[in-house]
Symmetry: C2
Amino acid sequence: MRGRTEIIASVFRRGVTGYFQSGETLIEEGKLSRHVYLLRIGLAYQSFRFPDRRRAIVDIFSSGNVVGLETILSVRASGSVTAAGLVKCLGLEASSLRQLMEDREIALSFTSLLIEARRRSEELAARIARLDAPERVAAMLIDLYDRLRRRRLIARSSYNLHLTQQQIGDHLGLTGAHVNRVLRWLSREDIALVKGYVVIIRDMPRLRRLARGEDVIEMQRTKVTSDRSLAPIA
Amino acid sequence: MRGRTEIIASVFRRGVTGYFQSGETLIEEGKLSRHVYLLRIGLAYQSFRFPDRRRAIVDIFSSGNVVGLETILSVRASGSVTAAGLVKCLGLEASSLRQLMEDREIALSFTSLLIEARRRSEELAARIARLDAPERVAAMLIDLYDRLRRRRLIARSSYNLHLTQQQIGDHLGLTGAHVNRVLRWLSREDIALVKGYVVIIRDMPRLRRLARGEDVIEMQRTKVTSDRSLAPIA
DNA sequence: CGGTACTTTGAGCATTTTCAACCATTGTGG
DNA sequence: CCACAATGGTTGAAAATGCTCAAAGTACCG
């Protein structure tokens, strides 16, 4: 019996290859998408926008992820999906997908993707709700790492992450400026380096502890050293 | 052709009625649930717990919602589901549900529930990420109101919400203490009253604007002016 | 009546935001 | 090859929002 990934791949084999430049929109908020996409190369993110320009990025898609699942049932998109960096994907007409859903095996595969996507956004909500900034950033880095790793898209502890610090902030509920400070700190502590859209994880165990909220952190300003007189007795 | 709600209801008609007391667990995190539930009366919430006792409530279920959807595919529960207040529900064996999923119409109805649940958690993540405390509370109150209203479970702008302030905080990424302050403020401003597990919405338009982040707010301490003297104009 | 669970409130503090300036890199047209 | 614009990164100081801790207050229950 074929695995889910295989089934999805075979379904999209009937689709058409498409490319999106960085910043281009795959799916528009509130509209009924005409296609469903299977990402082959690159990243895309799903975002909501509030009336006053605040933005939240509620999901990040990487190779192997399917974008526009709600189209299966002719449901309007809950947010825009935008390419982060160059994206190569396979696109399928929503109508032909709906036909393919007649096949029970295919239908179950897509259901499985939905369950997974739901879990991702639940975990995101939990992290934003209860982790502090360094923990959130760590959780994101680890999460992406694990997802790419599981699909055998990376071998070592380094990968490509085409997101600006502002976009990372919108994903984690932080400002771009603060994301920057956290990244500097991770770098100073030699936990992880994020530079020019490349992530290098240097201390995986520590990053994982951070991501799980198991590590007590103090993102001290560097200059704390000489504060004054007696060092605080921890 | 029957609507989704009807189909779901008819599926659960084969199920067994069950009751859960406040605080009892319907589904345990990480385990494979033996049942799927359709809530008939009461509220339940799904929560994640971090190693150090921090907790996040990532979804709230009310009458008509289905709990344990991931069981359809024998996927482990992503979080515990707990009854908030007395819950009456219909329970179905996971195995028999999987059989019923052979029926295309039924399968699509459950897919639709999954899409809805995913959207809920995406919106939750977006709110926690980008709205401030009063806006988040407003969004939650409006969201629950709309959901209950749509199912014709309430007529006026008042409903039952059996959650402690701590639980609301865990849902919105706030502390119980701060939720309290926000609720006091909403009450002072005569926007909404939340008291003893009952919500009364007094100024729906303003609450809605708040929930959408369209309203500039200043949650000033009351005593900026003179303490007593002038009676608050109810 | 004591016990338990939840709410309310204050004071001080921590984290994160805001605002603003400046720097670095890249691509473009002259 | 250089100037320039554009985008994104880096940093500081001040301010704000929300948190922690702690102490009462309330309500209900047996």
